[in-house]
Symmetry: C2
Subunit: 202 residues, 2 copies
Amino acid sequence: MNEQEKNTEEEILDAASRIFQKKGMSGARMQEIADEAGINKSLLHYYYRSKDKLFLSVFRQAVKNLIPGIRNILFTDMPLFDKLDRFIREYMGVLLGNPFLPMFILHELQRDPDRLFKEFQKAGIEPSRILHQFEQSMEKGEMRRISPRHLMINVLSLCVFPVAARPMMQRFLFDNDAEAYQAFLNERADVVSEFVINAIRP
Amino acid sequence: MNEQEKNTEEEILDAASRIFQKKGMSGARMQEIADEAGINKSLLHYYYRSKDKLFLSVFRQAVKNLIPGIRNILFTDMPLFDKLDRFIREYMGVLLGNPFLPMFILHELQRDPDRLFKEFQKAGIEPSRILHQFEQSMEKGEMRRISPRHLMINVLSLCVFPVAARPMMQRFLFDNDAEAYQAFLNERADVVSEFVINAIRP
DNA sequence: AAGTAGTTTAACCATTTGGTCAAATATAAA
DNA sequence: TTTATATTTGACCAAATGGTTAAACTACTT
């Protein structure tokens, strides 16, 4: 019973996650989510009181999936290039395991930035530490001079964009060949890591 | 009269563009668009028969804004590094002039990929030419070896992502300081150009 | 067996939303 | 001025949508 409850509740959350990620908050229909979960629409309201609450639960879960692996790496003591390499690999891994997350988060954050960004702050990621390490490495001459924030965004861009823009890029550069694009994404960690390190090697 | 018509029709398109870009197709309401244009809702249906048709007009216009400046550069004969530099500058310029376009296009393309991608094909962008130039430059030893497609996506990523992910990044890296982020974006063309060229210089 | 609390469903409701239509208004041609 | 045509509006409609409720069902306790 408690098992069944967990199952239903979780099944709803998974179904809602799939629908929300595909269609966004406003594009998703409660009936659609209920169908996807194989249950009655009223059950959605029984477990999560409103569409808004259900959405927030999904969004929180999404943030949870995206954040924690990364934090460990950023907070570890490690030579810069090693850390960059490990971060890129870890981050690409998370993205490939949740390919719809980036667009989902970016789009919903545009819809309701302040409220949803708070969910991120709860996860407690602090960029200042890694930005500081960038500066130190520059002072020590271990890397070229570049604005730490630009470098940070460069790394994120190179990882996130190819996953988020897949529907566009797969068609644009790969003739809509899904397998080819998947292979392409699987090479990405190597390519990005090499690209970034080449760009900043002194 | 014909003037007034053009004015009304265009005013509607502009209003619709603003609303659609902010809220997406499914998040936008016809009434909201009518209000934004300062007219009656029926007028929307008088000029554009349905929401879907109105959306398609907006999307087409968006593609038009995004594409043409770029094509010229890609099709020009120029040394590789110069071409990359000019492309990055031109592309960043277009993006900064239409900051909501990227997310709009990416999100809507995820909703209805095949139909909307055709609108791009009409614009007639052909990646094969620039990919080919990448290969030739590698053979001549003018640049490091890297998969042309990866390089292409790297450049696009570095330009598009910081604009598309602004609501996230401005808060994450800049304490939600809008002016600081704008300044950051204005430096981008320089930074990206240098970053890319450093990464591939032999 | 009966009671109790949690779970699920079908029927229903109020509001929103895209869309229609006939009437009204402006515009230009005759 | 009259006539024809294009533009604009307000009232209205049917469908979709998020949400409610009372009843039915289940499982567990006594």
